[in-house]
Symmetry: C2
Subunit: 253 residues, 2 copies
C-alpha cells in the first residue's frame, strides 16, 4: 500500500518521514470514498468529525451569505487535507464542495490522536502541511486585498500551476484547470461578469485560453510577470536540522 498519492509526494519532498510513518499514514488513508462533480462534502455549520485527504480531483472550501453570494476561501487540489482541526472543533463554519469528480480518503478525525501519538515525524509532517495551507490563506488575503482584478486572476493561475507541480503533476497537466469563470469569480472576490472581462484580457495577451470547458495556461511566464508573482511563499524549504535532532531525541526515549 505504498501508492504514491499527491500527499505522499509532498511529504516525501520533506525527506523527514520514515517507513513507519508511511505505514501509519497508509492505515489512516485506507478507506476511500468517491464523489461526483458539484457534490457537497462538508456542509456549512454542521457537525464535522471526519478528516479527508483529497486523492484526485478538485474541490473548494467556501463560506456563503444569506443572499446567495459566496466566497471561496481555498481551492483544494490532490494532496490537500480537509478538516484537519476537526478533532477539536465539532462544527465547520465553511462548506466544501467538489468541482470535479473526486477520490477522497476519509477517516474519523479522532483517529489522528492515536495514530500520531507514536509517530512524531508524521505529526510534524502533517502540521507542516497545515502550515503550508495557512500560508495559502495569507496569500489569498493579499491577492484579494491589494491586487486588481486581472492581477488577481493571473496570480491565482500561477499559484495553482505551482501547487500542482509540487504534488507530482507534469507541466502540461498542471496547465489545465477544470474551473468555470463563476468559480474563479467566487475565489477572487469579484462578479462573474468582471471575472470574464479579466479572463478575456489575459486571453487577448495569449496567456490563457479555453478548450473543452477547461482553462489552459498557455504562457506561465507571462502570467507570473503580469501578477508580479513571488514564489517564495510556496517554497518547500527543508526541515531545520535542530528540529530533526529534537524529534530524534524524543523518539529514542
Amino acid at each position: 500500500m505504498s501508492r504514491q498519492t499527491a500527499l505522499h509526494v509532498r511529504l516525501n519532498a520533506l525527506q523527514f518521514l520514515g517507513d513507519r510513518d508511511f505505514d501509519v499514514l497508509a492505515k489512516l488513508l485506507r478507506h476511500v470514498e468517491r464523489a461526483g462533480a458539484g457534490e457537497l462534502v462538508v456542509v456549512e455549520n454542521q457537525e464535522l468529525n471526519r478528516t479527508r485527504v483529497l486523492l484526485s480531483g478538485w474541490a473548494c472550501r467556501y463560506k456563503s451569505f444569506a443572499d446567495g453570494r459566496r466566497q471561496i476561501l481555498n481551492l483544494l487540489l490532490p494532496g490537500d487535507v480537509i478538516g484537519f482541526y476537526a478533532i477539536m472543533l465539532n462544527r465547520s463554519d465553511y462548506g466544501v464542495e467538489t468541482i470535479t469528480p473526486v477520490d477522497m480518503a476519509v477517516f474519523p478525525a479522532v483517529d489522528l490522536v492515536e495514530s500520531l501519538a507514536g509517530a512524531p515525524h508524521l505529526t510534524l509532517g502533517l502540521s507542516w502541511v497545515a502550515g503550508q495551507s495557512e500560508r495559502l490563506l495569507d496569500e489569498q488575503i493579499t491577492r484579494i486585498g491589494r491586487r486588481n482584478a486581472s492581477e488577481r486572476m493571473a496570480h491565482l493561475f500561477v499559484e495553482l500551476f505551482l501547487r500542482l507541480r509540487r504534488s507530482g503533476f507534469d507541466h502540461d497537466a498542471a496547465c489545465c484547470l477544470p474551473l468555470t469563470q463563476s468559480v474563479l469569480a467566487d475565489a477572487l472576490g469579484m462578479s462573474h461578469v468582471h471575472a470574464n472581462r479579466s479572463f478575456r484580457a489575459l486571453a487577448r495577451e495569449r496567456a490563457v485560453s479555453i478548450r473543452d470547458g477547461k482553462i489552459l495556461l498557455d504562457d506561465i511566464a507571462r502570467l507570473a510577470r503580469r501578477a508580479r508573482f513571488d514564489a517564495r511563499y510556496l517554497e518547500q524549504s527543508a526541515v531545520p536540522e535542530r528540529t530533526k535532532r529534537a524529534v530524534k531525541k524524543q523518539t529514542m526515549l
Copy 2:
C-alpha cells in the same frame, strides 16, 4: 507561576487542560521580552526559529509589496501565538510589527517538540488555538472579498471586540482600539482615504468615535447589524467527548 495571561484564559475556557499542562506552558513562557510601539518583531523573508506569545499589547502580521503597499493579514491581540509553525519552516514570508508597546513570551520554536511530547492535552489545546486563528483568516478573506468598505470596517470592529472579550477584557476595555486609520486601511484592503470616509460614515451613525487617538466602539449592536455579523466563527465550542476519551487513553498508556 499561574499568572492568568490571555492565553491562559482561552485555554481555560476549553476545560480540557490539567495542572501539568499549565506547568509545561509556564515553563515555555518563562522568558518575556518587551518591545515599543512600531517595532519589527519578525522580518519578512528572514529566518524565523522562535515562537512568541503576545502577553499584552497589539501587533499585526502583514505582507508588503515592493512599491510600499502592504496588506495586514491578521491583527494580533494578547493571547495570540506568533510563529507556531516555525518548527518546520525556517523562513517567515510575513512580517510582524508591533502597534502598541507589547510584552511577549519568547522561546525557541524547537522547544515545542520536547514540551509537547509529554502533554497531549496541551498539544491539542495549542493546535486548537492555531485552528481558531485559521478561522480568523477565513473570515478575513470573506470580509475583504465580499463586503463593501463600511461593512468591512464594522465587521472587523465587532470581531476585535469579541476576541478581546473572550481573552478576558471587560466590555469597556474591549471597546477601545489602539488603531490608526492607516492600519485599518491596510487590514481591510483599501486606501487610507477611503478608510477615513468609511469611518466617518460609521461615526455619523454614532457607532464609533475617536478619543485620545483611540477608536471607541460606542454601539456594538449597531456595528453588528451594519455588518450582518454572524458570530458563529468565533464560538468557543466545547471539545468533543470522543476527543477527550481518545487523549485520555493515550495518556494512560
